[in-house]
């Protein structure tokens, strides 16, 4: 009950006109940042952080978190329209969002994405409100072995639940692991696979790879197929929003499942990226029209978006209560907290009540404001696809190049992006799935690090992955997911032989 009183007090703080104004400004800035690939939420928040130093801490965090929400919403726009995910967790949104846009249903895809984001985030905020103190402790149980188990589950659910030939999926994934291994080996502190090239010190950044593989690769494919975006006949009025909404409640099961996956993955420090991939993989298996996934199925947009935002939002909980940022953006926000003299940690909820509940209230309001802002703009975004390919393609190329450059301010990255573009084109022509490759680049080094940390701790014994109930359960789930097809086949054979 005390939580509710605190929350209403928080609403009173967040609803002051000055804070409301900051909220709208933040959302708008965030959407702009999210639309530009490469200039993701972390960079955007970092650039705008100094703007907020003259504000009171509560107002400042409201504005910054609204920029963050805005960027999250904005990231879905380029994923759906141009197949260029701006953030790791938007990758899964492209699988069905982009085909939908190509079939002339960009408005529907955008509406579904925005609404699902809102639902996922709302679910997570409600969870934060109700069980904040309880859940915070859960993250503490996650050591390296548990973290590895979560990544293992993400990889397995992708291989086992995918409809692609498993060996092509594994081949693509291995290529991703190899790319993820380049750079500094964080366990021994030595460089590997850089061959003395100083530009490779940093390894292959996920964003460069994705902009190339998806963005450039897609343009090459489109050029081959006759210089046309097929989204030209997109309907551009607000009615499409209402029509889509009418259809959405039918997918409540997918939504709920994705919310739960998202919250769980957000509170464990695994984060939004595995959440979105896992949710997509599971939806693909369990949905009635799962066979159509990848060809423009609305459920394939709902599942990853809901999970990603539920995870992204609930990830703020470990940041506030433990001081561990779950994402680069959260890390920059954490820096902001320290500058305002707020020390995240177990005492923040006790000592800075007004701030914490002001922030939580602003999550409710910021999300709502964000949804309204982006939904009213759906027709405008959808209309972008009506621009002739000859004009839009060079613009996308320029956007991609700027995005790739701004990740590390390096022209080498732009070249790298082009190389990845060609690679993406070739892989697509040979029918290798790109998603496992990207998944492995994003999570490969994290999984490796967690694996080796666990083995260091257990002095080399693999038993550490089955050493307690939590880690054993996650590992077992992973194995089930990996061999799901075999299990299903065995089950149906058993049933026919019994019948």
């Amino acid at each position: 009950m005390e939580e509710l009183v605190n929350l209403f007090h928080g609403f009173a703080v967040a609803l002051q006109p000055y804070n409301m104004m900051l909220m709208i400004i933040g959302i708008t800035l965030g959407v702009i940042i999210g639309v530009l690939p490469g200039l993701g939420g972390a960079n955007g928040v970092a650039i705008l952080l100094p703007l907020t130093f003259s504000m009171p801490p509560t107002s400042a965090i409201i504005m910054l978190s609204c920029i963050y929400w805005g960027a999250l919403f904005g990231g879905a726009i380029t994923s759906i329209l141009f197949n260029i995910p701006g953030e790791p967790w938007s990758v899964a949104t492209t699988f069905d969002g982009y085909p939908m846009a190509q079939q002339g249903r960009p408005g529907e895809a955008l509406t579904a994405a925005f609404t699902s984001s809102f639902v996922g985030a709302l679910f997570a905020v409600i969870m934060i409100t109700l069980v904040a103190p309880l859940v915070a402790g859960f993250a503490l149980r996650f050591g390296p072995a548990e973290k590895f188990a979560v990544y293992f589950l993400a990889f397995c659910s992708f291989v086992g639940l995918s409809k692609e030939p498993p060996f092509k999926t594994i081949a693509a994934m291995m290529m991703g692991f190899a790319l993820a291994a380049v750079g500094l080996d964080s366990i021994t502190g030595q460089l590997r696979l850089t061959f003395g090239v100083t530009e490779l010190l940093n390894g292959f950044d996920f964003l460069i790879a994705v902009i190339g593989l998806f963005g450039i690769g897609e343009i090459l494919l489109t050029m081959e197929e006759g210089l046309a975006f097929r989204g030209g006949n997109a309907s551009i009025n607000l009615r499409v929003v209402l029509q889509t909404w009418r259809g959405l409640p039918a997918y409540w099961m997918t939504s709920l499942r994705s919310c739960l996956i998202g919250c769980w993955m957000g509170v464990t420090p695994a984060g939004a990226t595995p959440a979105s991939f896992m949710s997509y993989g599971i939806a693909k298996r369990l949905a009635r029209r799962g066979n159509n996934f990848g060809k423009g199925e609305i459920e394939g947009v709902i599942a990853p978006e809901t999970a990603a935002h539920a995870a992204g939002t609930s990830a703020l909980l470990p940041m506030l209560s433990l001081g561990v940022p779950g994402s680069p953006t959260a890390a920059v926000l954490l820096g902001g907290l320290l500058i305002w003299g707020l020390q995240p940690g177990p005492m923040l909820f006790v000592e800075q009540k007004e701030f914490v509940w002001g922030l939580i209230a602003s999550m409710y309001l910021g999300n709502l404001a964000g949804l309204i802002v982006v939904l009213t703009c759906v027709p405008i975004f959808a209309a972008i696809l009506r621009v002739p390919f000859g004009i839009i393609a060079p613009l996308i190329l320029v956007l991609c190049a700027i995005g790739a450059y701004s990740v590390h301010n390096s022209t080498f990255d732009v070249m790298l992006m082009l190389v990845f573009g060609v690679l993406g084109y070739l892989l697509k022509k040979c029918n290798y799935p790109l998603a496992p490759l990207v998944l492995a680049i994003v999570l490969g080094d994290k999984a490796e690090e967690a694996f080796r940390q666990s083995l260091l701790g257990s002095q080399g014994s693999l038993g550490v992955f089955f050493s307690n109930g939590l880690v054993s359960t996650i590992m077992a789930l992973g194995l089930v997911a990996l061999f799901w097809s075999a299990i299903q086949e065995g089950y149906s054979r058993l049933r026919t032989s019994l019948a």
Binding site: A42, A46, L49, P50, F53, S54, A139, L140, R141, F142, G143, P144, G183, L184, D185, S186, I187, T188, G189, Q190, L191, T194, T198, L201, N202, G203, L322, G323, V324, P325, P328, A331, V332, L334, G335, L338, I339, G341, Q343, P344, G345, P346, M347, L348, H408, N409, E449, Q453, L456, G457, Q459
Partner: protein, 335 residues
Amino acid sequence: MKPFVLNVALAAIAMSCANSVASRAAWEPVRPVEFIVPAGTGGGADQMARTIQGIVTKHNLMKQPLVVINKAGGAGGEGFLDVKTSSGNPHKIIITLSNLFTTPLATGIPFNWKDLSPVAMLALDEFVLWVNAEKPYNSVKDYVDAAKKAPSGSFKMGGTGSKQEDQIITVGIEKVIDAKFTYIPYKGGGEVAVQLVGNHVDSTVNNPIEAVAQWRGGKLRPLCVFDAQPMAYDEPIADGKAWKDIPTCKSQGLAMEYLMLRGIFMSPKATKDQIEYYVELFKKVRATPEWQEFMKSGAFNTTFLTGADYAKWIEAEEKRHEVLMKEAGFLASGN
């Protein structure tokens, strides 16, 4: 008429000389200044750089903007090489941590601090030995006894990065107390502290700012500080104890000292006036209440050095790192 023309010309020349002298004496940035952080977002160096950026913006200390850029690749090697190759560009400064010494030694990248122009030492970061508050180690002696009694390698020390400051200290402790730890590297200091709270490691050597929240929350216990004197801050943090009340490790029979440089360097071939400009800038930053608050929150050692004193300090510290890293077997092959 002629002498008059000549005079005017001479006067003009003299004035332009005076002008150029004056403008050289007061060099100022003419474009935005890049502030390179050779570490990721959210870490200690990053927090300090962003605090400085905030202070400079809030108090209007520079006419040009100061832009923080993270170049964390290769344990910071990316950032150092970037500044090294921007010779003669006075619009680029870098904040360093101990990876100034450890990264070139451990990875063999072609870089040495002498490639850069030293500006100023802003502060020194302390290291504290932490254990989980549930554990029965109330003093360094309890801790050392437990570490010695545990089977070799089963006592786990968590730390930031590999072959960097935390691991150097760990090897130092091993030598002093003659025990063998297993060192587990993590990405960031905050994560290390949480792993200790969750009992996934047995102890850490976190910087004060990384662990203070958990100390206040009653989850962690500080045992000693790796400095020659106790820290200066006497405001109570937890259980009526202040930073000042943490004894030095040396006084508790654990003879190991280590402090980490938080210093500023700029691109190679910087002129005296350019260095002078940044020294003055950081003097102004240090005078602000925000900076003092930041120093207090992280219990920093606020030693400030410039010029020859600074260079001498770095030189001694470089030698020390070479010895420490060599003894620990951390040098890259071919170094």
